[in-house]
């Protein structure tokens, strides 16, 4: 999880100046139309952690129509994942556990 200069969690997605932004690896922000596969994967991993945060989608604040489309779709997906992160952890921890333990031992 990226920590901002002020010490708080950095938002994965934020809306600023009517534009949608995503957080980069370096802790800066880029506009959402630059999102590629690698970025999406990074955002997905962030969504599975606690402390994940994004600005809620707001048509008023986000005037750029293209950004609206991207922000809304990816934002929803990441939020959904974040809400299901405990389910995901439980499910992956228990994945094939029996077999794993048998062969590990």
């Amino acid at each position: 999880m990226l920590i901002s200069r002020e010490g708080g969690h950095m938002k994965a997605l934020k809306i600023e100046n009517n534009q949608g932004h995503f957080v980069t690896e370096a802790g800066d922000y880029e506009t959402v139309d630059k999102i590629d596969k690698a970025v999406l994967l990074r955002l997905v991993n962030m969504a599975l952690e606690d402390g994940f945060e994004i600005d809620a989608f707001d048509e008023e604040k986000l005037k750029n129509q293209a950004h609206q489309i991207i922000y809304k779709s990816i934002g929803e997906k990441l939020t959904d994942l974040h809400q299901r992160r405990n389910q995901f952890r439980d499910e992956s921890d228990r994945l094939y556990l029996e077999a794993y333990e048998k062969y590990k031992g």
Partner: protein
């Protein structure tokens, strides 16, 4: 010590094969076996007239008796030799009740007929078929003086066991005209005069009965000429053609339930055939073991089989590409594509496996019977039930939500497809990111598990007398090994290139249509089932025979005697001196073992309990075969007819080719050593 045989037949009945009784043979038997007392015990009958004739002719004590079919087992009832008319009346009552094969009387009937059983010697078949059942034994327990057995092995086992009744061993012989040999199963008993009362008194003390006259239970009579053997370990020595194997054959014939390992029995005459047989047996065990070991992996593989990371990757790419493209077209969106539903994503509605598992775990806690006490100690069943209810309700509501979302998804999909027809705008290709992620996890967990399976590791190990049965898992060393396992004519070389990444390897296997997916689980790790020698190497042809010899000897535990003819003819000295001697010694603690040998590794190193030296001698014009026997520490070995022979001399002659040769060899070894 008095020698008694209280179980013999003189009248053929429905329970016997026909024979014609010979009083002369009985007289001869009593004389040659030097019996002090006998009992006449025919099946469910007492013939007073014949009994009187027998008593008249015999010099030893003769007791009247009967062998009764009691609740499907056989019991001897022996009376004092008095009030014979009364005994005949009682036995007649038995005869009247038992007329056909399979008839028997009950304990109650027995007591009704004979009254107080304390007036008789009551001896059931104990470790002898048909043996007395637990219930019957219990109901006549107070009257039983001893239990009959049919071998020295069983006699000794019972004699040593303080919780057992006193054992007796009798001939159970049919005294017939055709008898060529006399039985050797009799019991020695330490009692004063020979009366029923005195016998009964002595039988109360297990230390008062023995298999031999003066050597307690360490010797028993094996042949009717009076030849004894140790109830422990015997070795039979002697020159070629002096009667060693004949001796073993005779024991095999005269005794029952004998394990006989003849000379060369275990040498592989047809090596390739034998190896095939041996390997087939190993393969069968391996396949059972391998399937058991791989079963959990198979379950994982069956699930992962449906995971296609390539498709998932493409789906994510398509999603992103279409999303970005649509965004790019944002300015040009028409009325149709501007509809919110046009780019609405689907609700994700995976089944909640975790919740399902949790519910079944709680249910197990509630329903388990075996560990009920522990569960109850820690958790209140009421709370468990409440928890189960809450979880199930949650599951229902989630299922309900899922159903609703599924409905919404259907509607959205329908609307979207209709809008799609009317607009040129790009439609975002949706992706279920949760599913993609879980499947990714599945693949990586599968890789971990498969790699664990490929770690070389012993998964099962069992020691069998110095040999080791070992089951190992390891990675396959090449495509050809996998091909062998598959038993198919398919080349695995392409797939094998991906072998180090099990998930990719699985994809490659899937790509080969001539392979059956249900067999894939066998192609990931090699399961080896091997029999190794003491050095940890695979057994050689010779060692396979060693393994079998040890198995055969081990199997002897199910028999009453073990005979081995010249084990040295098939095996090397170190093996014989080590494992074989050890296991033979061990087994001889519970049963008579007889080994024919002229090998010093066996003969001299095994510390036998008894030596039998066979000798072919010329007596005037006749050839006489003699057996000299004695303890290893005896100066002289003695034959039945009273001749003696120097123990040291014959042992050295048999095992070391004579004293001179022995010292010469010693000299040679000393010089090599120096």
């Amino acid at each position: 010590m008095k020698k008694i045989d209280l179980h013999m037949h003189t009248v053929p009945t429905i329970s016997d094969a026909y024979f014609s009784f010979s009083l002369e043979k009985l007289i001869e038997y009593v004389k040659s076996a030097e019996l002090d007392a006998i009992a006449i015990t025919n099946h469910d009958i007492f013939d007073l007239q014949q009994f009187n004739e027998i008593v008249e002719k015999l010099e030893c004590a003769v007791f009247p008796g009967i062998e009764i079919n009691l609740e499907k087992c056989h019991v001897l009832i022996i009376s004092e030799n008095e009030n014979l008319d009364d005994f005949q009346l009682k036995t007649q009552a038995v005869s009247e009740k038992i007329k056909a094969i399979g008839d028997s009387i009950t304990v109650e009937e027995l007591i009704n007929i004979f009254g107080d059983l304390n007036n008789y010697l009551v001896i059931p078949h104990y470790e002898k078929r048909p043996a007395i059942s637990g219930d019957t034994l219990e109901s006549i327990w107070d009257f039983i003086s001893a239990g009959e057995v049919d071998s020295p092995k069983k006699f000794i086992r019972m004699a040593k066991d303080e919780t057992e009744i006193t054992p007796v061993i009798f001939s159970d012989v049919r005294i017939s005209e055709e008898m060529r040999k006399f039985p050797t199963r009799q019991t020695f008993i330490d009692c004063g005069d020979i009366s029923l009362r005195s016998l009964k008194f002595s039988l109360r003390d297990r230390n008062k009965v023995a298999l031999s006259k003066s050597e307690g239970n360490s010797l028993f009579q094996v042949f009717d000429d009076g030849q004894n053997l140790s109830t422990g370990l015997n070795i039979v020595l002697g020159a070629r053609s002096s009667g060693k194997t004949v001796t073993l054959n005779q024991i095999n014939k005269d005794c029952e339930n004998v394990k006989y390992i003849p000379q060369f029995a275990l040498v592989q005459r047809d090596d390739s055939n034998y190896e095939k047989e041996f390997n087939a047996d190993v393969a069968r065990k391996k396949s059972v073991f391998s399937d058991k070991h791989l079963a959990p992996f198979k379950a994982v593989l069956d699930d992962v089989l449906n995971v296609d990371l390539g498709i998932n990757k493409r789906k994510v790419e398509d999603y992103l590409a279409t999303l970005l493209k649509l965004a790019d077209e944002a300015e040009k969106l028409d009325a149709f594509s501007k509809v919110t539903l046009f780019n609405e994503s689907q609700f994700e509605i995976g089944v909640d496996k975790v919740l399902n598992d949790l519910i079944s775990s709680v249910r197990q806690l509630i329903e388990n019977i075996e560990y009920r006490e522990i569960i109850d100690k820690h958790v209140d069943i009421k709370s468990l039930k409440a928890m189960a209810c809450e979880l199930i309700e949650l599951l229902w509501s989630k299922a309900y939500e899922r159903k609703k979302k599924g409905l919404v998804n259907d509607i959205a999909k329908d609307v979207k497809s209709k809008l799609q027809l009317r607009t040129s705008a790009t439609q975002v290709k949706d992706v279920d990111l949760y599913k993609v992620l879980i499947e990714h996890k599945k693949a990586s967990r599968f890789n971990e598990i498969a790699q664990l399976l490929q770690n070389e590791k012993v998964i099962f190990e069992e020691s069998v007398q110095g040999f080791k049965v070992i089951c190992k898992q390891r990675a396959f060393e090449g495509a050809s090994e996998i091909k062998n396992v598959s038993g198919q004519r398919v080349a695995f070389s392409d797939a094998y290139r991906e072998y180090s990444n099990p998930f990719f390897y699985l994809a490659a296997l899937k790509g080969n249509e001539s392979l059956t997916p249900s067999e894939f689980y066998k192609y990931f790790a090699c399961i080896e089932y091997e029999i190794l020698n003491r050095d940890g190497f695979k057994v050689s042809g010779g060692e396979r025979s060693e393994f079998r010899l040890l198995q055969e000897i081990k199997d002897a535990q199910n028999y009453d005697y073990l005979l081995i003819d010249e084990p040295e003819s098939s095996f090397d000295n170190l093996f014989l001196k080590g494992e074989v001697n050890q296991i033979l010694k061990e087994i001889s603690r519970t049963m008579p073992v007889v080994i024919v040998t002229h090998n010093s590794s066996v003969g001299a190193s095994i510390n036998a309990d008894y030596i039998v030296y066979t000798s072919k001698e010329i007596d005037g014009k006749n050839i006489v075969y003699r057996r000299y026997a004695g303890h290893p520490s005896d100066r002289e070995l003695r034959s039945i007819d009273g001749k003696t022979i120097n123990n040291f001399q014959v042992t050295l002659n048999s095992l070391e080719a004579g004293e001179d040769a022995y010292f010469e060899r010693r000299g040679t070894y000393e010089s090599i050593k120096n």
